[in-house]
Symmetry: C3
Subunit: 399 residues, 3 copies
Amino acid sequence: MNKDAIAEAIKALGRLDKKNMYLEDFFLTWDKTDEELMSVFKTADILRALRENNISSKIFDSGLAISNFRDNSTRTRFSFSSAANLLGMAVQDLDEGKSQIAHGETVRETANMISFMADVIGIRDDMYIGKGHSYMKEVSRAVQEGHKEGVLEQRPTLVNLQCDIDHPTQSMADMLHLINHFGGVENLKGKKIAMSWAYSPSYGKPLSVPQGVIGLMSRFGMDVTLAHPEGYEVMSDVEEVARKNCQASGGTFTKTNSMAEAFKDADIVYPKSWAPYSAMETRTDLYGKGDFEGIKKLEGELLAQNAQHTDWECTEELMKTTKEGKALYLHCLPADISGVSCEKGEVEASVFDRYREPLYKEASYKPYIIAAMMFLSRVKNPEETLAKLLKDAPVRCRF
Amino acid sequence: MNKDAIAEAIKALGRLDKKNMYLEDFFLTWDKTDEELMSVFKTADILRALRENNISSKIFDSGLAISNFRDNSTRTRFSFSSAANLLGMAVQDLDEGKSQIAHGETVRETANMISFMADVIGIRDDMYIGKGHSYMKEVSRAVQEGHKEGVLEQRPTLVNLQCDIDHPTQSMADMLHLINHFGGVENLKGKKIAMSWAYSPSYGKPLSVPQGVIGLMSRFGMDVTLAHPEGYEVMSDVEEVARKNCQASGGTFTKTNSMAEAFKDADIVYPKSWAPYSAMETRTDLYGKGDFEGIKKLEGELLAQNAQHTDWECTEELMKTTKEGKALYLHCLPADISGVSCEKGEVEASVFDRYREPLYKEASYKPYIIAAMMFLSRVKNPEETLAKLLKDAPVRCRF
Amino acid sequence: MNKDAIAEAIKALGRLDKKNMYLEDFFLTWDKTDEELMSVFKTADILRALRENNISSKIFDSGLAISNFRDNSTRTRFSFSSAANLLGMAVQDLDEGKSQIAHGETVRETANMISFMADVIGIRDDMYIGKGHSYMKEVSRAVQEGHKEGVLEQRPTLVNLQCDIDHPTQSMADMLHLINHFGGVENLKGKKIAMSWAYSPSYGKPLSVPQGVIGLMSRFGMDVTLAHPEGYEVMSDVEEVARKNCQASGGTFTKTNSMAEAFKDADIVYPKSWAPYSAMETRTDLYGKGDFEGIKKLEGELLAQNAQHTDWECTEELMKTTKEGKALYLHCLPADISGVSCEKGEVEASVFDRYREPLYKEASYKPYIIAAMMFLSRVKNPEETLAKLLKDAPVRCRF
């Protein structure tokens, strides 16, 4: 985008209703209106274009963005810190460690103790079913209360960097990639996307990716097909969300136990492994009881279960059955590539290879999506502020 | 504070003699004059007010604040990084690890090697009696010499983030809370504060908190009562400091072995566990000899000793005996709350609950106290610089 | 340097041809022309002088500098983060861990995933012969390709923070120290430098230091003598580089197995332990095979081999044989000091003590060398940008 195009985009952003995003958290895409989601996409595009024009969008002169990764994460960590830096915040990590599942009193206290100068808190907590989302809500309540009581000068807003239910920064990066790839959100209407389980030799991959995808892609009139072997169900609540979304958006939501059926004539395919929801519930219970014998046993069972479905692989053959044989292949990365990262995995090497460039582009949207979420939650008049940035054009780097 | 009030506060700051703080370290509150301490309080209040008025107090365009936490620390870590960020410095952690007790040559060399672009160094080293404070002095000497020899472009100043003797950022945050709570330092005269030992099921809690409190609160005419069971003495040197302070300030310093006596008619209570000084000396020796059998034995003895004093608990009943039954309850957090974080601890849950809001406020002063210490050690004419910030009013966040 | 001297230095920089450094990596000093190396020295001096005049050289308003330390490193870590901060970038660490030797697909993907907003990547990877340099090349290719394909908005440039072959930020800091110590690069012509092996009770110290030194110091007409006991050969390729450099620069490159011969009449001595190249090759193979028995055995052999050469120590006696008995002593630090950090080591305590100040100065150049490498790879018209900084004179700290 050149500067005129950016100015146009800012005007378009101005027409979207997003006033309720100000000082609000971002937990689940289905908490947000269509216009709010479109505002995130628009803002992400604008922030990216500003940077590409060497215009700084540093709206904070000082301020902290706190990250709390309850799982290891390189990619999301870098996306979060890129986004924070783009807007002018310094990142401070809260290393709670995996084991230490804080709750109640401790969450409330810690949330306040770290937030005296925090503008944004990003949390990734996707390991245990029924925990991550509730934990984020708890933190949010704590800092809201802290702000109300005058303990916190500002009320930090939360960005869900992946929970047990949704992975909004991933699904929205995926979708912004689709919007830009297909030349506009209106072109997604009627497109068929296959969100399909795929075989992986590891187990326990998070459900939040497929859930995030069906919960979001169903919003804009797409034909969403969810495919997985029997026994690999996702949360039924999220399926219900997808169904309702489709009713509203004019799309369809279809379930199938056949990868071939899902891929047939698909415009977009997203083959990706995940763990069965019920197994993850069981695992959470076992962890709760400290039953490590049980966990080990469950792992064995899950790997054996996976091994029955090695044919769920995104092959060249399957790709040929998609729309004109050239569906867009999506993945949140890293993928299990057959013969590369493992003997047999989610995708054939030649397929992955062919799509490397678009896959990397897909990933490149994440820092901007996170930055946009932060921006819209901290800035009262986003279009005004962006227009001022465009006009003043502070340089990002004195080249 | 609105802008007029800030301007007034800056004028008041201008009347305080603080010229010796420039390019000086902050080790112990009793190294500082009353006016110097008041300058820290004033500056902390002003920096907070500037931020609340969305005025940036970023005096550094670049520069490093180095932190060296020889113990784990979430709260102090966040306070330090908040303070550094508020003033414009990036934080760089020196992870020396607990085990590696550097000394002599190594301290001198490392201190210089990390300080080429360091404006501030914050150190927390409270584990071993007789070590932390000396270590900080050693680092200070090393960087002073390095600066004198032209090795270091600037001479970084040190902030004691807790040593074996004092915990000035904690006690001064506590005191600023009191000043603001009681409406001015002059209102503290004659107030009774009970710094009391309290039972905890863990052992070896640092002495620097009670020592810091009696060493500071005795400066401003308060009646300071130190209460603990026999055998839980603090450093006698610090008691001596408190005694002398009282002579000068018109306060009193009383010791008792009765929690009830300490709480009686107290305006402020600070019930908090700590380890006996002599036991900590023994432990330091055992660590020095690598006598892990001995350490284990000592731990057992200390826990058993603690267990004889489970009645040293801040109960509702005790609170009723304080001034009008409503003394202000202080704690450095986290507290051992009976029935919440442990079966039996320092404070009854209902007492803690009632004081949560003021407790969080108390903690909220720490980043500003640290920032004020940094500010006064780096800025030659603090009131001029602050006045300029107020006038120019650079925005912290383009809301 | 005062401002006039800085202006002069900027003009001198303008006369050097360095256009090929723009958007290029810095892997090995022998990849670079003499004028390019001189540009780094000049820029480092200018950046240091600007800072000493309280002028900020923050050319980035936002941006990330990514560090990837595949070994533990305090000094280089601080130098890198100082340099990044000086120019306005935030540091984000990629903690890959030592064990995880990524390659191929994984390197390409990770390099792109972390670089969406990265301007600079610094890598230290010196443990395994034949690995570090290749890894850096791989990362470089990956991000170049990513940029070409539109995945990365900018093409981050790499700085080699130590590989298996060269340690350019160290050798150039050493050399800038020499230039400033002897009053100009022209005064180094004909000076004798002894790069000598020295005894250490530890084993496996990297070869990149002596290799970097002979590969660089031979560029400017010095008489370079490499001394080590038989069996402690460095890479023959780098010796070849040194030989060729000398032919071009009018210096000499001499090898000897006698420390005394090397020290005789030397102007500069650099006594420092390293591991035999062939042993490091063997170790790399053993690690590749996971042969931990073999590694243990090799360690034992190497320590025994070292122990035969405890007489390779930089003593007062040896120092007396140098030019006028006062050669400049260099070391990359930390040194193994006899009677201080170990019973018997690389250098006598009294020698080390006498040179502490110049040693610390030597080290103090590293952050500026790194900053200069970053600067020249990111800024199209370095002299223009520096001249503008000097003219506008943005303050680094509002003192």
